[in-house]
Symmetry: C2
Subunit: 324 residues, 2 copies
Amino acid sequence: MNTFEDILAVLEAEFEQISWQREPQGLYAPVDYVLSLGGKRLRPALTLMGCNLFSDNILPAIKPAIGIEIFHNFTLLHDDIMDKATLRRGKPTVNVKWNANTAILSGDLMQIEAYRYISESPEAALKQILDIFSQTAAEVCYGQQYDMDFETLTDVDESDYLEMIRLKTAVILGCALKIGAIIGGAQGIDCQRLYEFGINLGLAFQIKDDWLDVWGDERTFGKKLGGDILCNKKTYLLINALQRAKHDDAAELNALLTNVSMAHDLKIKRVTEIFNRLKIKELAEEKINFFYEKSLHNIASVNVSDERKTNLQILAEKLLQRSK
Amino acid sequence: MNTFEDILAVLEAEFEQISWQREPQGLYAPVDYVLSLGGKRLRPALTLMGCNLFSDNILPAIKPAIGIEIFHNFTLLHDDIMDKATLRRGKPTVNVKWNANTAILSGDLMQIEAYRYISESPEAALKQILDIFSQTAAEVCYGQQYDMDFETLTDVDESDYLEMIRLKTAVILGCALKIGAIIGGAQGIDCQRLYEFGINLGLAFQIKDDWLDVWGDERTFGKKLGGDILCNKKTYLLINALQRAKHDDAAELNALLTNVSMAHDLKIKRVTEIFNRLKIKELAEEKINFFYEKSLHNIASVNVSDERKTNLQILAEKLLQRSK
């Protein structure tokens, strides 16, 4: 049984073996750049851990795991164009370091490379894995579309938000685990339980992400706090604050959302004060816990020994206590 | 044996059965729009004709054929963003009718939908078909990158140009035919011959496209002539003209390429006159014929009866005598 740290070491060794020094250089250099920026490698790790839950041989899951990580990084690359983002993991985005056209085309290539790695799944399971992967990839696009739609909608409620993050963030975690489970030889019902585990973990994970933007520790967070507040992003926090705020709080919150000349630090401070008065922090923590408990329930019901489940349980706990 | 026209009728019936009225509408409406603009449906027809060359049952090739057409339309959609194109098949491009972000994301979704259809290939051949398709899809990206690189390069020669159009245009024709041949049960050597047939046909086809932009008939061409001349596009014609032009012609051609204030009609007229003086028309026609002859040689060597080859031979001839 491999811990998350063991799995990460396996993955890093694999990533280092892949050379993106290929022609045309103008197209592969951004792919190399994006994939070498690091990140948590959470999704490919979930594929290997999903496999390892049922099998001691994780080798057949490595290529598809890498395919999922390439796909995830492709979505970040294209999201950054759409959001006109300038920084990703503390470094200039591809649309800034190169340009938008290069980011579009090298992203397209990454999606193809992702499918190339997915296609290296064990052949007996290839069709099933392709179907899950394509369905999930399409859903991630839907999630990005809803996220962009939310920017101009005024009546987004918590259930809309949860559906958006389920699509944009959670399904790829579920998919990563399920593909691993299939390769590990799991039965259909267990593959589905592991998928649900990924969904609930993903929902908790994203709300924690929203939470960290306000109450995280800047030294470990890796970027400035309050980014979501500054761009009026419809996070779990803001959506609930808009719903809870009455009278003076409602008026002040609306004024803050429409004020375009206010100093950044002041806007962050004022919005955070409103969140605190409305007990949004506690509300978010309750919701994170709610989905975390559901995920533990999912993993508990999988038909393997408790001992094999430990590493995934430890990972889930770590993800939700993370400070970055 | 089905003629090209028979095959087109089969394809149109299939395309009409697919409903893109799906959620999220903001994402599928552009997909529906792009796929309903028509086009020649050449690539999916080649898949079915490639299959039909070896088998009377073309049904198993229909889904992958549609996947190839969706992929082709995806590349046009993203190319139009990169080229800031405003018209495609006489209608506003997605980046104009909607916006660039919608064009990026619905294009990403189309690539996924393309893979979904490709994944419906007969399972025994799935891995082989995926490998060819992904390799080709990546090469189409390389071709687009070289095409964009050419805009700022000054020393593009004919062999660079031929390599660019091989990647950008020809490989997908070869791929379409080869996938059809595999599904039709062809032997490896015949699959490869059909692939080469597609490559040579594609090269001839693209040079004919360049030719039509200058010497086509505007009434049947469907768009204004001289578009490539106006944007100094490094076509087969311009590259050879730059190489052949001496003294006065060279000076005039360079002046025309750098003049940004000249009336459009006048620039087209002057450049065309230089092409005519340098016998570029005849040069292009020789080259089209050269690749056409090679393609006929490829098809002649395939191990099936001459009778089965007729429809593909007729199609090749028609494509190179086309006026639009």
